[in-house]
Amino acid sequence: MSEIHTIDEQMLVAFYRNLYFARRFEETLADMFRRGEIDGWLHSGIGQELVGVILGVTLQAHDYIVPYHRSKATFLARGVPPRALIAEILGRQSGICGGVGGEAHAADVSHGIFGSTGVIGAALPLALGAAFVQLYRHTDGIAVCGFGDGATTQGSFHESMNLAALWNLPIVFICENNLYSEMTPLSKEMKETRIAKKAEAYGMPGIAVDGYDLDATYTVLQEAIARARENQGPSLIEVKTYRWHGHYEGDPEEYRDKNEVEAWRARDPLPLLRARVHDQGILDSQQLLDLEKNFEDLLSEAVAFAKASPYPTPENLLSNVYATNTSA
């Protein structure tokens, strides 16, 4: 990383808006889950929103994101309507995937988001395809692929890093290292825990960054994105971050120390960013409160919309297996 890139006022506000909203979105979902309003599971991204926000805000419309599996922040910051995202998580017809994919398999190709999967590690090969399409079409678009530390021990990580470097694909791999893979700590996933360093095996730059430091993360991401965009090749970014909630909502979290959680929570980038926006005089207290109030309304409306939406019909559920009208 060279010197820190400056974030202009407009972007700072965009980051704040999106970070605030992503946090409230996550909190709202967690509450809903606790109240039994969500079928299946919920994997909270709370505490890890910053990277997704930066990506969502800074990437160009023709870039593709294969999102990190907790990153609802990416979806929102890219402009996916909150109501359609909640509806998807609730399995409703009005969801971005018609309510069939749900939390783990949500995609919105019209917003350049694709490749989400319930299979850890499987996103990376898919992301190669997105990068290859950019190359093939001679666009200046890129692909970004997010995943966790746990995914780096999958064979697919290795094959994908190798192929991306070999073919000089316009892609940025972003590993959100939150120190755990479900209940397993990093030290039981790998002996070499410096994930960024693994990039060397592929002849690719690898950079680690504190994911709670907005400026550092912004800088590292912008440089990697620029590299990819200018056809200088892929990068691996290891973002050191932390999830505040359990692996899934309801996780008893016996495997980690409350103090560890508290230490990360104490570094929460959200109030820091709010203070910065305020102290730099970009938005005053009232403007901040108005903005936050607006988001609460937006959220309530989105939840109400989603809850009122019907579930997929049998006809919906039998569609889209094939593009042609094939029946078995």
Binding site: W41, G91, G99, G118, T153, Q154, S181, E182, K188, V321
Partner: protein, 325 residues
């Protein structure tokens, strides 16, 4: 004898076999420190130590391969794949290596490996956490495939699988985890490849496997109230297939319904229907009917209820079988 959940019956089976045979060990993601993503292996690390109960990284291919190697050289590995859907990542190791190694080395090795995995619907977690893939594995010569239908079956079949000299894909039925039945506290085995007639009847044979056995038994009760006596055969293993038990029942009832949770094409029902069409054709008084999931991926949330088969589908199928088509 006590009421035991499917979950605890599995734990007990592993525990008893680990106590009995020092060569049995267990590896998988989150199986040790945290006792398994679903608590199935709780307590085993404390009892058997780190050499025999181990957490692994997310590396399905490597951990299954390790299990095959260790099995070939004399140990008895149990490798857990958290959800059956992820088993595809280890497919080469299972289908090309576990299945074929004994044959390709001319019988020099056994592969007493058990791959335990949660299968089927019930958690509403969608297409990557809900599949039942018994027919994919049953098609590969060299593998055995076990699908216990309740806690009693789970314990006896898992113990047999662990002692079996061949590689076994052991499919734990997700939606049965909490279901309790009477389970003996002591050691007992249920042989692999022997189906069980769970209910006798003269009007129709319903061959069911895994979770569909409970739905079928309930359907049979309902049918009995209409005066239709169904014979319910729990196939127990998708490979080997106990064709004698199945065909004898068909020859008696002259009607066949097959029920499984996986989709129909190339599924367990196809094989059973083919067996009947091959070996009991002249006994069949009505078309064979398959009760299966719809031919789609499994959607998330409650939509899965529409895709997966249930009691109602079995009752309807029997009505059709009785009517003769």
């Amino acid at each position: 004898m006590s009421q035991l959940s499917y979950r605890r019956a599995l734990t007990q089976a592993i525990d008893e076999e680990m106590a009995r045979d020092a060569g049995v060990f267990l590896i998988g993601e989150d199986v040790a420190d945290s006792g398994g993503a679903f608590g199935l292996t709780r307590g085993l690390l404390a009892k058997y130590g780190e050499m025999r109960v181990r957490d692994t990284p997310i590396s399905e291919e490597a951990i299954v391969g390790l299990g095959i190697g260790a099995a070939a050289l004399g140990l008895r590995p149990i490798v857990e794949i958290m959800f059956m859907d992820f088993i595809f990542l280890a497919m080469d190791q299972i289908a090309n290596h576990a299945a074929k190694m004994r044959y390709m080395y001319g019988g020099q090795v056994h592969i007493p490996l058990v791959v335990r995995t949660l299968s089927g619907g019930g958690f509403r977690a969608g297409m990557h956490h809900s599949q039942s893939l018994e027919s994919v594995f049953g098609h590969i010569p060299g593998l055995k495939v076990v699908m216990p239908s309740d806690a009693y079956e789970a314990k006896g079949l898992l113990k047999s699988s662990i002692r079996d000299p061949d590689p076994v894909i052991f499919m734990e039925q997700k939606s049965l985890l909490g279901a309790k039945v009477e389970v003996p506290d002591n050691d007992y085995l249920i042989p692999l490849g022997v189906a069980k007639v769970r209910r006798t009847g003269s009007d129709v044979t319903i061959v069911a496997i895994g979770i569909m056995v409970s739905h079928t038994l309930q359907a049979a009760e309902e049918l009995a109230q209409e005066g239709i006596e169904a014979e319910v055969v729990d196939a127990r293993t998708a490979m080997p297939i106990d064709s004698d038990t199945i065909l004898n029942s068909v020859k008696k009832t002259n009607r066949l319904v097959v029920a499984h949770e996986a989709p129909a094409p190339f599924g367990f029902g196809a094989e059973i229907a083919a067996l009947a069409a091959e070996k009991a054709l002249y006994y069949l008084d009505a078309p064979v009917i398959r009760v299966t999931s719809k031919f789609t991926p499994i959607p998330v949330g409650r939509s899965e209820d529409y895709i997966l088969p249930g009691k109602k589908d079995i009752v309807e199928a029997v009505h059709r079988a009785i009517k003769g088509g």
